[in-house]
Subunit: 240 residues, 2 copies
Amino acid sequence: MRYELYYWPEIQGRGEFVRLALEDAGADYVDVARAAGKNGGTPAMLKLLDGSRVAHPPFAPPFLKAGKLLIGQTANILLYLGEHEGLAPKTEAGRLWTHQLQLTIADFLVEIHNTHHPIGSGLYYEDQKIEAKRRTEDFLKNRLPKYLSYFERVLEQNPSGSRWLVGARLTYADLSLFQIIEGLRYAFPQAMQRTEKKIPQVVALHGRVAERPRIAAYLQSERRIAFNEMGIFRKYPELE
Amino acid sequence: MRYELYYWPEIQGRGEFVRLALEDAGADYVDVARAAGKNGGTPAMLKLLDGSRVAHPPFAPPFLKAGKLLIGQTANILLYLGEHEGLAPKTEAGRLWTHQLQLTIADFLVEIHNTHHPIGSGLYYEDQKIEAKRRTEDFLKNRLPKYLSYFERVLEQNPSGSRWLVGARLTYADLSLFQIIEGLRYAFPQAMQRTEKKIPQVVALHGRVAERPRIAAYLQSERRIAFNEMGIFRKYPELE
């Protein structure tokens, strides 16, 4: 089966968490909005998003077509891929714990996004710069260390060792935490330089993910979109 | 099995979405932080939250003890209860769709919270009132109608009819949408009076949930905490 991923073609955004899972699994997939031809491009995505005859309409991208299933919400897509692509434990306890971590990563991501969009996601950054500055100060001082030290603690307290977040094997949550670190290093290089000294296990996990052959190949490929100031992680030096 | 729910004792908050599911299912549970005795109260909750020997430490309340499982993240707890308490379909497609809707409700809830806390969750409302006013304006104009009309559309496009969000039976997502409407009516009565005219199916679903015998009994009971200005839904007339 060839998966169809639907996401905005010009940013990593939330779609990247799905891409990393598909790439690490070596899954066959097409990134529809980035594909050429009459069935590709952003219109193909909008058709499913706005369709009045879609039984399970998604609220927003990303969404994944897997056979007859149309699955929306990043964490929900990963829940599915975790089970079908061997990226999560098979036990109920392990599946729930992996998903719990993913949902905490999702909360973290919203807070990261809101540093540059504290007033409204539909407004330009330029129209909320003053508020963004204030929000980012609070985020870097309080929220960034709180979230990152939480994941450090999860690694430290993992009864199977500190290599991965869940048990002794990689899960989709590890891939997502890798992406969070990648993005934070891009957006807040100075704050991360300070903070990373306190989270050695998280930094080591990031390195471990980066070295996985399929991930390393992906990061070098044209499939990996560069970070930019349209995505979730944005480098606005005036905010740091 | 008696479930143990851990959540802040003085607010509905995110815990309320779990309480509604437990109540509708007629499940046996104790609301630990609200219980008396040496095993109750907020300290019992903080012990699990901060414990250094907890294998699956939650990032924040609510969390649920179900036998040996300790489950965090509201949507994840509902995923579990959906399966074990008959509050979600048994098919994979139905389970994923229900969860997808729940995650969209969770996104909506974050945006509702951020109307009064746009700068930082750790700061007082009084210290971000000006920004809150601006954020609320954008929320009421753009985001509130967008989310509510989405759920209206989900009901309209449900192939099994418009009584419930998923298929022909109630799921935990219906209970959560009920709670969203309850909270929005409390926080933004004027905006809701205008908006509700455009979402008749959502309003009807809210009424259907309120009339379920166990929910009706719960809402009348002392177990239902009143809305207040410490929770997610807050009535600040200056914001509306």
